[in-house]
C-alpha cells in the first residue's frame, strides 16, 4: 500500500469495506466492539442506500465486503444485499453469531452468491458459551450451523474471542474447530474497545494465561503442518502485553472503510467515539468521504504526530499505534498509543497488567451488551 503522507495527492483504495448492517443482536457479549451508545444511533440505511454504498466503494477499488453488525441476519434484506454485492465482484463475507441462521438461509445465501461465512463462538464449553452470550440455546445452534455451512461447500472461519474466562480452554477450542472442519480459526484475544473496554478488568487475561495459550497454539500449528492439514490458526494477541503498539488498521483510512448502520462512515469500528466529525453516506459520496472528508484525513500519514512519535525512528512502522486507544487511555487521540513503552502514559498499561494479575472480576460481574445497559450508560 502506498504511504499516504501529506505529500501524497490521493490515498490508496479502500480495499476492505465493512458493512455494519444493524446494531440489533440477539446476543449480549460483554466484549462487543459496538459503541456503548448503540441504542441511541440513527435509523438504519435502506436496502437501496446500502446497494449504492457497495457500488460506489467497488468503483473506488473495494474488493472484500464484510456483512457485520450487530447480527447481520436480523436484516430481512440480507440475501438481496449479498446478491447485489456479489454481482459487482465483491468477495462477500458474512460475519455472524449463527443465531438466526437456518439451513434454508445457508442455501439461499449460497444461491445469492455468498462466498464465505464466519461464525463466532463465545467458548468451546456449552455453559460458558451460553453465559457469555447471554443466551441458553446459543451453543447447540452454532454447532448445527457450522455443520450446515460446511455441508453447503462454503469455506468457514471460526472466530473465538478469548479472554481470562475461556483462554485456558484453548486446546478444547482448537479441537472443536478442527472437528467442525474450519478452514481458518481466529483465536482473537479480546481487544479493548466498546463494551470490552468497559469490562476490561473482568476480561484481560494474565501474561501467564496468554503465554500458555500461545504455546499450545504453536504446538497445534506444528502438528497441522506435519500432517499437511490446511487449517490455519490465527492468534491475535492483546496489545496490552506489547512494548510497541500495533499498526492499527494498517494506518488510518489506509485500506479499511466501515459504514455503520445509520450510514456514518468511519476509518475503523470504534472511531465514532473520537472528538472528530465523520461524514454520512446519506450526505456524501464514498469518493468524497474517502478522499476528502476531514475525519478521514485527520490521522493519515505522520504529519499529525506529536512527541514522542514525531521524532521516533519507528514511526513509519506502527504509525503511532491506535488513535482510539490513545484517546480512551490518555484523553487525546493525537498522543502516542500508550501501549508504547516510549509513551509518557505507558503507566496505564502497566496498571492494567497488574489488575489482571489480581483476582479480577467473575463472569457474572461483566456488563452484558444490551439495549437496557446502553441506555443506562448514556442517559443524557
Amino acid at each position: 500500500m502506498p504511504n499516504t503522507g501529506s505529500n501524497e495527492p490521493r490515498p490508496g483504495p479502500p480495499l476492505w469495506l465493512l458493512a455494519e448492517l444493524t446494531y440489533r443482536c440477539p446476543l449480549q457479549c460483554p466484549y462487543c466492539s459496538n459503541p456503548l451508545d448503540f441504542a441511541q444511533q440513527g435509523e438504519e440505511l435502506t436496502t437501496e442506500e446500502w446497494i449504492r454504498v457497495f457500488r460506489e466503494a467497488r468503483a473506488m477499488g473495494a474488493a472484500q465486503l464484510g456483512f457485520s453488525g450487530g447480527e447481520p441476519l436480523v436484516r430481512q434484506d440480507l440475501a438481496v444485499l449479498i446478491e447485489a454485492a456479489r454481482g459487482m465482484g465483491y468477495y462477500t463475507n458474512l460475519i455472524t453469531s449463527g443465531i438466526g441462521l437456518t439451513e434454508q438461509k445457508v442455501r439461499d445465501f449460497k444461491r445469492a452468491g455468498l462466498d464465505h461465512i464466519q461464525i463466532s463462538f463465545q467458548a468451546a464449553d456449552e455453559a460458558v458459551n451460553n453465559l457469555l452470550a447471554g443466551s441458553r440455546k446459543a451453543f447447540a445452534q452454532k454447532l448445527a450451523m457450522a455443520q450446515a455451512v460446511k455441508a453447503q461447500g462454503y469455506p468457514m472461519v471460526l472466530n473465538f474471542v478469548t479472554h481470562r474466562h475461556n483462554i485456558d480452554q484453548i486446546a478444547e477450542i482448537i479441537e472443536l474447530c478442527l472437528a467442525l472442519q474450519a478452514d481458518f480459526v481466529e483465536l482473537a484475544t479480546c481487544q479493548f474497545y466498546g463494551w470490552a473496554e468497559l469490562n476490561r478488568a473482568g476480561l484481560l487475561p494474565t501474561r501467564e494465561q496468554l503465554q500458555r495459550a500461545e504455546r499450545i497454539t504453536q504446538v497445534y500449528r506444528q502438528r497441522l503442518e506435519a500432517e499437511g492439514h490446511p487449517c490455519k490458526l490465527i492468534f491475535v494477541t492483546p496489545d496490552y502485553y506489547e512494548e510497541r503498539p500495533k499498526t492499527c488498521m494498517n494506518g488510518w483510512a489506509n485500506l479499511f472503510l466501515d459504514i455503520t448502520p445509520d450510514g456514518t462512515a468511519l476509518p475503523c469500528h470504534s472511531a465514532r467515539q473520537l472528538p472528530v466529525s465523520f461524514p454520512n453516506v446519506r450526505e456524501h459520496s464514498i469518493e468524497h468521504i474517502w478522499n476528502d472528508a476531514f475525519g478521514f484525513n485527520r490521522f493519515r500519514g505522520t504529519a499529525w504526530m506529536k512527541e514522542p512519535c514525531r521524532s521516533c525512528d519507528e514511526k513509519h512502522q506502527d504509525l503511532g499505534g491506535c488513535r482510539c486507544q490513545a484517546y480512551m487511555l490518555t484523553g487525546n487521540a493525537a498522543n502516542a498509543d500508550p501501549v508504547c513503552s516510549k509513551s509518557p502514559h505507558h503507566g496505564v498499561i502497566l496498571q492494567a497488567r497488574q489488575e489482571a494479575q489480581a483476582a479480577g472480576q467473575g463472569m457474572v460481574q461483566l456488563t452484558l451488551r444490551n439495549e437496557k445497559a446502553s441506555r443506562l450508560i448514556f442517559r443524557g
Binding site: N93, V157, D183
Partner: protein, 90 residues
C-alpha cells in the same frame, strides 16, 4: 515440500477466487477476509488452473504464449509448489 507432478490437474482451493482488479491493475486472489496481490506471471499461471488441465498442458500454453522464455517450465513448477504449500491451490 511435495513435488508437483506434470500430469496432475490442479484447481484453486475451495472458497478462493482469482479476479482482475482494474483499480489495482493486477490479478488478486480473494479468500475469506483476505486478498493476495499477484504479479503478472502468477496471474497468468493461476488463471489456467481449472481442475481439468494437467500441469504439462498449462506449461505448453504458457510456452506458446511466451515463446523463447528460458526455464519457463521450471518457474511454473516452482510457483505451483509454493502456491500449494500455501494452500492456495489443491
Amino acid at each position: 515440500m511435495k513435488l508437483i507432478e506434470r500430469e496432475q490437474a490442479l484447481a484453486l482451493r475451495r472458497g478462493f477466487r482469482l479476479q482482475w482488479e482494474p483499480r489495482q491493475d493486477c490479478h488478486v486472489l480473494l479468500y475469506p477476509e483476505g486478498m493476495i496481490t499477484l504479479n503478472a506471471s502468477a496471474g497468468w499461471v493461476l488463471e489456467l488452473l481449472d481442475g481439468q488441465r494437467s500441469v504439462a498442458l498449462i506449461i505448453d500454453r504458457l510456452v506458446q504464449r511466451f515463446p523463447g522464455v528460458p526455464g519457463l517450465d521450471e518457474d511454473v513448477l516452482a510457483f505451483l509448489e509454493v502456491a500449494r504449500a500455501k494452500y492456495w491451490i489443491e
